[in-house]
Subunit: 314 residues, 2 copies
């Protein structure tokens, strides 16, 4: 009998669930609204609904394990205060789902799960140690050491987005100043683009792409414009890549991780963004690392959430 | 028969060697000039000279192991291009000394060895995970995870001093800008002090301590003046502690290490320096860490070099 793995990508808006083969291929995918405003009990019901869909299609007996990627800090299966889910302080989601299903369940921070997915099935295959960066709405990440997720003593490791590159820099939501997320997260990058487009003499295809509505600017649009050769978009993304490079330089020096894999919405950006990141690190990092730095594009794209979750139990 | 351990602190100027008990007490200490300008072969002879002194006193048969702390990158016993030692590219010091003595030998980066010494016998006793900072001539460090040194995949981890706190900051010797070492390393801190003393209206006991010769200002002197209540010295060290706090904040966020132990020349500074470091991290770090941050004074002081080296084999 074939063995399958359920991967669940728990977001504040949507629960995305897939049935995944042992080779990391998604065989079936479903999603439901999280109903996060209704609190943990309803969220658990929603998760179970998607799990039962998989039972119906593949047979419960063929499910080898259930992996869940959840937002926020996850420690020993306990999900702590995930952003944007109501009344959720600390919930042992791992034991809840394991008890409800009778199937081995592992719950992990979603960025860590995505890092593991890249390690097992993506750009990190065959690489035992790397830094995984998710560059999208915010800047998050995961650290893979010896092929495993590095959790840190309290389960909170990998907050790459809150590496400050200027102690006098822009205020970050987290309370610190100059965090790389406060320079290149979606909100800030879009803001930076709007400011640039308002400068006299700047003409950009971004304006056409958003049909003149600058509020619709998001990193994906900037990436598309850059791909089309738009100068303003190129400048913004090169600058952002350079800034990310500054943050990564410090992390390479501290942790001795010479391979960086970049995922998230911006990972679809043209090659020159990766070149900007690589060149910045190579110029600034301690000498012994310089010739070994590799900045790679994540390979799993949108599937990283489900495959990442499933890879916790594969 | 009692068992003893030889700890060797290899510096570019001096080889300091001690015989250490299994409880981490130094029983006998000796030192010779490294003669670093004469290259690795002579340096090895100098090391062996001190080892033989220990044989003569304690009997070779009672020596259980030899640990060596060496400057620069050390990977699998190979010491790579240590600063200020001539003609030393890559030398497998571990196998050289093991072959010459027939005794189990472990060679480690000196900052890592000092971190391990604090873990086994100092402020880190009973603490499995912490960041160790050596704040002296430069800013170095070591990372203890699960009670062991975290080397990183290539043996280069722990370069805490090269965490940049401002990508437009002062040029660091390493090639990067704004490294914390470029703000609070001995040279920079002394320079900052000289500049401050030249400002109109600034009166400071530092000038008395160095008998008017401002070239003699070093961190130790600033610490003594601060201890005596000197306002200028206090301001400089508080500022330095705050800057160090910025760098440590990013490291705590990335690695989830909530305990920081500070050693090196500045670790003798008054409590207010530690308070400045602690307050900065607590204000800036991600929320879940805030109430758990501990900044501790290293306990082994000058003995950390020898005890650190010995603790590699204890």
């Amino acid at each position: 009998m074939s063995r399958y793995y359920i991967g669940i990508d728990l977001g504040a808006t949507t629960v995305k669930t897939g049935c995944v083969s042992s080779e990391g291929k998604i065989l079936l995918e479903t999603k439901v609204s999280t109903e996060a405003h209704q609190g943990p009990q309803v969220v658990v019901q929603k998760i179970m609904k998607t799990v039962e869909e998989m039972y119906n299609r593949f047979g419960k007996a063929s499910i080898e394990g259930i992996g869940i990627g959840a937002p926020g800090i996850v420690h020993n299966g306990i999900v702590k205060a995930p952003p944007n889910i109501s009344e959720w302080d600390e919930v042992n989601l791992q034991s809840k789902i394991a008890n409800l299903t009778g199937i081995k369940t592992i719950v992990e921070n979603d960025a860590n799960a995505a890092a593991l997915a890249e390690a097992k099935f993506g750009a990190g295959k065959g690489k035992n140690n790397f830094l995984f960066v998710i560059w999208g709405t915010g800047v998050g990440g995961g650290i893979i050491l010896d092929g495993k997720i590095y959790h840190g003593p309290n389960g909170g490791a990998g907050e790459i987005g809150h590496t400050s590159i200027d102690f006098n820099g822009p205020q970050c939501n987290c309370g610190n100043k100059g965090c790389i997320e406060a320079y290149i997260g979606q909100r800030y990058l879009s803001q930076r683009t709007r400011e640039m487009l308002k400068l006299p003499g700047v003409v950009s295809s971004i304006e056409t792409l958003v049909e003149g509505n600058l509020d619709r600017i998001e990193p994906h649009v900037i990436a598309v414009a850059a791909e089309q050769g738009d100068a303003a978009a190129k400048e913004i993304l090169t600058e952002a890549g350079t800034l990310l490079g500054y943050a990564l330089t410090s992390i390479v020096n501290i942790m001795d991780l010479e391979i960086v894999i970049i995922g998230g919405g911006i990972s679809a950006s043209p090659r020159f963004v990766y070149d900007a990141i690589t060149q910045t690190i190579q110029t600034r990092v301690l000498k012994p690392h310089r010739q070994h730095i590799q900045v790679l594009r994540a390979e799993l794209g949108n599937a990283a959430g489900i495959i990442g979750a499933a890879s916790l139990v594969i």
